[in-house]
């Protein structure tokens, strides 16, 4: 039993040493004061989101202006990719997510089973520009089936009769076409392949719409891959006689030559903010917010002046919210981006939404509600704090009106 006094003595010795040592106190203060400050600092109501990288600059711009107006709501968004956004929704690590493609039916059903319906709210649109680099040529017309055959490897040279017939009077060189695609899984590729599936039966049956694909064997050494939109844009700039696809903003900022594509009405249309926005006006009716949107597609829409490779980019939100504060803040945020926020879009090279789409989004936002049912809660707070379920057993109450407005 002499162990106890021995350890006791040691502890007393250590304590005495520490208390007397001025450096020790300095270190202690240096480490604990910031820690206490960092743990106890007040937190504003924080909306956390992640997902598609494509709308990230626009969402950042929105956050800057939104937070100026609504001081006590903090919004955080990080571009991690559309796939990561959907995964975050499924694991409920976020309040909202961004995705360039609607959730797949299987994903949507899984989320619906766990958390209730996931709303798809279009916040802006993306146009995919087909870009090319032929030093001798400034303007190029292509049709969907020719573009598909270039990407299938059927057309090998720029002076192929099918390209020449679309470009009368243009001196196309006898050079091999270098075909560029994305190396990473991406929403841009999804929109592009969605379009090719609409215009080419062979594309639809062999590759289909997908976030990533491999080049068909016929392309062999003519296929190049770039990481991200920036990577593809760089390859197009550096390699003559190449063709690729990038988000519209990268084509503009990279000063790349864009292809005029033949739309459904038979006109050759280059991508621009107006021609991209046209696609939403003539889109077929959108499904109810509480249904799965996996079939929604606005590529190859009708309209005289419609650019054909266009898609919505969505904000995904849970219909049933756990906390009334988050729910109200989310409503305020989504309402703001659909109305006032739209004025910032065009200056950042995003089309602003047509009024019919804004109204569909707003009607979905109004349906957000709090619901602490056991089903919706199983995977969240109630797992850790069972008391939470008992004390706030609210059923389906619609959450508060505008909060946090600075008046």
């Amino acid at each position: 039993m002499f162990v106890v006094p021995m350890y006791g003595g040691t502890v007393i010795f250590m304590l005495r040493f520490m208390l007397k040592n001025r450096k020790f106190w300095l270190l202690l203060i240096l480490f604990t004061v910031p820690l206490i400050l960092m743990v106890s600092a007040p937190q504003a109501i924080t909306l956390v989101g992640q997902g598609a990288t494509f709308p990230e600059p626009l969402i950042m711009e929105w956050i800057i202006h939104f937070q100026e107006r609504y001081g006590n709501i903090t919004v955080i968004y990080k571009g991690t990719g559309s796939g990561a956004g959907v995964k975050a929704i499924l694991s409920r690590t976020v309040d909202f997510a961004g995705s360039d493609a609607p959730m797949k039916l299987s994903e949507w059903e899984e989320a619906n089973r766990k958390f209730g319906p996931i709303f798809h709210i279009p916040e802006t649109m993306g146009g995919v520009a087909v870009v090319f680099n032929i030093p001798e040529v400034e303007e190029l017309n292509l049709s969907g089936d020719v573009l598909a055959d270039i990407y299938l490897g059927r057309i090998e040279y720029w002076d192929d009769p099918r390209i020449v017939s679309l470009n009368p009077g243009v001196g196309l060189p006898h050079e091999r076409i270098y075909v560029v695609k994305r190396a990473d899984s991406s929403g841009t590729t999804y929109i592009f392949t969605d379009y090719l599936s609409h215009v080419s039966a062979e594309w639809a049956s062999t590759i289909g719409k997908t976030k990533t694909f491999s080049f068909p064997g016929a392309i062999r050494d003519r296929g190049l891959t770039g990481y991200g939109n920036a990577g593809v844009a760089q390859i197009i700039q550096q390699i003559p006689y190449s063709i690729g696809y990038v988000e519209f903003a990268y084509a503009v900022k990279g000063e790349l030559k864009t292809v005029a594509l033949r739309n459904k009405a038979g006109n050759f249309v280059k991508p621009s903010l107006e021609t991209i926005a046209e696609a939403a006006k003539y889109a077929s009716p959108l499904p109810d917010p509480e249904e799965s949107w996996h079939n929604v597609s606005i590529v190859n829409s009708p309209g005289e002046n419609t650019y054909p490779i266009v898609s919505f980019t969505y904000i995904l939100v849970y219909k049933y919210q756990d906390s009334p504060e988050i729910c109200a803040a989310l409503k305020t945020w989504l309402r703001w981006i659909l109305t006032e926020g739209q004025q910032y879009s065009e200056r950042l090279l995003y089309p602003s939404l047509p009024q019919n789409i804004v109204e569909i989004g707003l009607s979905a936002v109004e349906r957000l509600q709090t619901n602490i049912s056991s089903e919706g809660c199983k995977f969240q707070l109630c797992l850790i704090f069972p008391l939470f379920l008992v004390s706030t057993g609210i059923e389906n109450s619609s959450c508060g009106e505008r909060i946090g407005e600075d008046n």
């Binding site: 040691t10 480490f31 910031p34 820690l35 960092m38 743990v39 106890s40 600092a41 007040p42 937190q43 924080t46 956390v48 992640q50 990288t53 990230e56 600059p57 950042m60 711009e61 956050i63 800057i64 202006h65 937070q67 903090t74 919004v75 955080i76 968004y77 990080k78 571009g79 991690t80 694991s91 690590t93 991200g228 939109n229 920036a230 988000e247 903003a249 990268y250 503009v252 900022k253 990279g254 910032y344 200056r347 950042l348 090279l349 850790i384």
Partner: protein, 277 residues
Amino acid sequence: MRPSLRSLTDKFYTAFAIFAFLILIIPLLHIILSIIINGIKRLDLELITSPPKSLLGSGGGILHAIVGTAMVVFIAMLISLPLGFFVGLYLAEFAKGKFAHFLRTLISVLAGIPSIIAGVFAYTVIVVVYGFSALAGGFALGIIAIPYVARSTEEALGSVPMEIKEAGFSLGIERWKVVLFIDVGYAKSRIIAGFLLALARVIGETAPLLITILGGINIPSNIFSPANAIPLVIYQYALSPFRIWHNIAWSAALLLMIIVLVINLGVRYYLKIKAIY
């Protein structure tokens, strides 16, 4: 006199060594020079005093990321310093035989795992339960720093001359006091230098932060809220289509390079004035 085969061989190997050195140094210089040339433009006061502002204006600065990086690295140090220090202390002074060998191998393995794995670990342990936060990022970086701190502590304590320990023992001082006050006291400056180098090692980490701290444009005030970090801002801005952001990314890279350089040079200078090397 004709040069002999031996001197020719000698010359050949010298030339080869210089060539290899050039191969190494040219890309390095290229990286450093292009960062300086492109980064100097926006390395102004706004960069370090302002959070992001509208892209339609100047684009603002990266104050949010500087604070975020400081916060995350601070948490990483809180976790890794005590743990790494005592692991190193144990390895240097107490561990013996096969078990010590096993532990050292384990530390090497820990130092060798890809940093993203530490990020995934922090994700499953902290993010899934508590959400994205600076704490999760600091936890991930802390795990990465532990083996570095442990190893440098062990090496520093290993350099303590036996005579000094023996002097302590001959006075009848208990073993733990000898270790904690004489050995550590002797090797103090080297241990601190090891801490700082571990800090410089984790400050530029990107991968584990990508999946733990999320990001955002707000200056974090609380360790439980998401934060941003300088490497993440560089990653995001460099891949965007906007020139304003490209310039900020270059300047942020330059800033990060300067921070790491200052730490490294500071350590050298510190060790020099302490006359260890």
